[in-house]
Symmetry: C2
């Protein structure tokens, strides 16, 4: 009996493995086929995809309703249900985003460096696609079309694995993408969607060294940790952010207040919202800390402060060690006083997630020290952390904001989904 | 009894873990300290290191003798013993290489991109160090000083793990490096050397996610596979190469012959030596295949051919499937005929190691198709694969030749040991 049960499990594991092998084999063929596809053809395919999304709007919305019904049955919170909901407007935006990516400059073939060596060899370092990508995400269904469009633009084949709560919506969107590819004469398998809900499929794919070139997980910490633990292929991680605002002394108080309020409250649920405010201790005496805390409290922000903050601002609750690590993604902020810039740098490099941190100061010296010493992807002076974003940086769409240091750091656009090739041309050179 | 034995093992495992934690903690402190060290100070430190290597020449040679004695006892082959041997000349070269790295342009702080956004934000993308590196290698002792020098140049802290066969030599060289750092006022732990021979230490270090930013293994396939299997931190792999020469038709026969001979025989033991020759089938009838095989055989190269090759050249032995995968690193070459460029591309992308491949042809169209469709780090036209090298590309020294696609591909110099930071400066901007 035990044997037979074990046999059945082995069989289903084998089916999953076969399915994943098939996905990666098809992706490899699709990737190879892209090496002879022009940039113009990829642009045309993206416009076709956008058209199909518009045409299929009502059937995508019907599929989305199935996800919403299942989500309600399973007790998803209303903010999560709201994030999941698609309507005519969000579908129009989705199509517009695909068209915007289509119109970007083609990164493929771009010359990064080129020179001639003394022996006459001509050396070019040119952008080429990475090959086969695996994108694992939990976010809203529009991430499906954005990610697929960036991969088509950068001439990569991609295997998409979306969250189960958006399964029907993602499948409907993936169908539009694949129809657009076929219509334009591209290999349909340039974009594939993992259809089994079985979680072991992700593990199988993450072990396909040599077949899949890169995994990009984007989502909650537990998702990303699970991917890193299982992966034998390279991973670029997209953690959410524990972002800091350091209100140095001297600073412009009104600017500090406006930036703190904006960084915390303009959209608290996103990764580039501020989670901790660090105040120079001078701001205890001069009242800046108290007035900024009051302004936050007036906007319904809960304040969790260190001892000094709690003394200076009666509305604060005492912070615990966990608060310095927290990514609230909510109307809550941790507040701490530091003795000087070194204290702020130490706190941020220790507790931060290397995402985005900003200093508010009128001192050139402090601004320079902060940008030199903070070890984060995005280091800012006198502006809101909310600007850490591919669109705001002028990259067009982004596949996410890398919190890694390797390959790509910060907002990642289509060019970040490329690698390069050294192309060396000679006329018979041999090595002496 | 069992408990007590298990307790002892647990204790020694704990010691190794504590030791590895100490290494990474010290590296983190050293890395942070480098953020305030100028390029001039790093250059000065490298000159001090070079001086110490020269001064300590006789004690390094004594340490090297211990390695050679142990190697002989353990029956190391004479080529391996030769690679391991240090003398006054090789130590002078080691010091010269460190000085050359010292004099390179400082990559740190270089502006990769910089622009102003419509809202007035000034965005800079600047090169910064990666942080803490783990370099695992099996090669000659000069790799110790080259790798350490490239890390100091690029302002990274590094933990070095050399092969056990060079243990005494590496320890003596590491001492010179650390003395040079201390003399110049830099943190000595910028360069640390793993001193325990215990293999589990590497596994511990490879799991230090968040503490070590990058592992670079350089050596045989088994080393690199073991690293990839164990790592929870990013890895850039340096596999040895299965490099191809494709002799297309039409081509200049003399050029083809010179390049084949050079690529195979000028230094057969290195990763950019050719391992397989692919001949267009036209070269069976016109005698080019036979004459080039004869020229190789005249230079004591053993030829392992497919059926057609064996028919055309009596000196060839039949090749097996393994030969197409082989990295001989010796005077042996696999020879195969292909029906056209597509056949060559398919063979190389299937059997190759994505390292370096060259085409010999007079046809612009074939050259362009080859450079477009071959998915390797280095793709060459009408020159020897042996040029795939940091020095030959004008990068100065190299930490190795990456066979990965992410972050760095092909020869890696000091600039490839950097990442970047987005620095955003405003005057009070908030997001609307």
């Amino acid at each position: 009996m035990t044997r037979s049960t074990s046999g059945a499990t082995d069989q289903s594991q084998k089916d999953i493995r076969d399915y994943c092998c098939q996905l990666s084999d098809h992706a490899a063929i699709a990737s190879q086929s892209l090496s002879t596809v022009s940039g113009a053809s990829r642009t045309k395919a993206l416009h076709a995809v956008a058209g199909h999304i518009e045409e299929a709007a009502s059937s995508i919305i019907r599929a989305n309703q199935l996800d919403l019904d299942e989500g309600e049955t399973q007790g998803l919170s209303s903010p999560l249900l709201a994030r999941l909901t698609l309507d005519d407007e969000s579908l129009a935006k989705m199509a517009a985003s695909v068209r915007q990516i289509a119109e970007q400059v083609d990164p493929i073939g771009q010359l990064i460096e080129g020179y001639r060596r003394p022996n006459g060899l001509r050396i070019d370092k040119r952008r080429v696609p990475i090959g086969v990508l695996l994108f694992i995400y939990e976010s809203r269904p529009n991430v499906t079309s954005d990610a697929a469009a960036l991969c088509i633009k950068s001439s990569n084949a991609v295997i998409l694995r979306g969250g189960k709560e958006a399964r029907h919506s993602n499948t409907a969107i993936a169908k539009c993408i694949r129809t657009g590819l076929t219509d334009s004469g591209l290999n349909t398998d340039v974009v594939q969607f993992v259809e089994t809900p079985d979680r072991t499929a992700v593990g199988e794919l993450l072990r396909m060294e040599g077949k899949i070139d890169l995994a990009i997980p984007r989502g909650g910490e537990s998702l990303i940790k699970a991917v890193v633990q299982q992966a034998h292929i390279p991973v670029i991680k997209h953690y959410t952010g524990n972002c800091h605002v350091y209100i140095a002394a001297p600073c412009d108080e009104q600017m500090a207040l406006d930036i703190c309020v904006n960084a915390k409250t303009q959209n608290p649920a996103v990764c580039n919202a501020a989670e901790t405010l660090l105040f120079d201790q001078n701001h205890l005496e001069n009242g800046v800390l108290e007035r900024i805390c009051q302004a936050m409290a007036d906007r319904d922000v809960e304040i969790r402060g260190d001892q000094e903050t709690c003394k200076a601002f009666a509305g604060a609750k005492p912070a615990t060690e966990e608060d310095w690590h927290a990514e609230y993604l909510d109307l809550v902020v941790a507040v701490k006083t530091v003795s000087n810039l070194d204290g702020a740098v130490h706190h941020i490099n220790h507790y931060g997630s290397k995402h985005t941190d900003t200093i508010i100061t009128t001192s050139v010296q402090l601004a320079d020290q902060f940008t030199e010493q903070i070890d984060s992807a995005n280091v800012m002076v006198n502006c809101s952390t909310r600007f850490s974003d591919g669109g705001e940086y002028g990259l067009g769409a982004e596949i996410g904001i890398s919190t890694d240091k390797l390959h790509a750091r910060g907002p990642m656009g289509a060019a970040d989904l490329t690698t390069y090739k050294w192309i060396v041309r000679g006329d018979g050179q041999i090595r002496q």
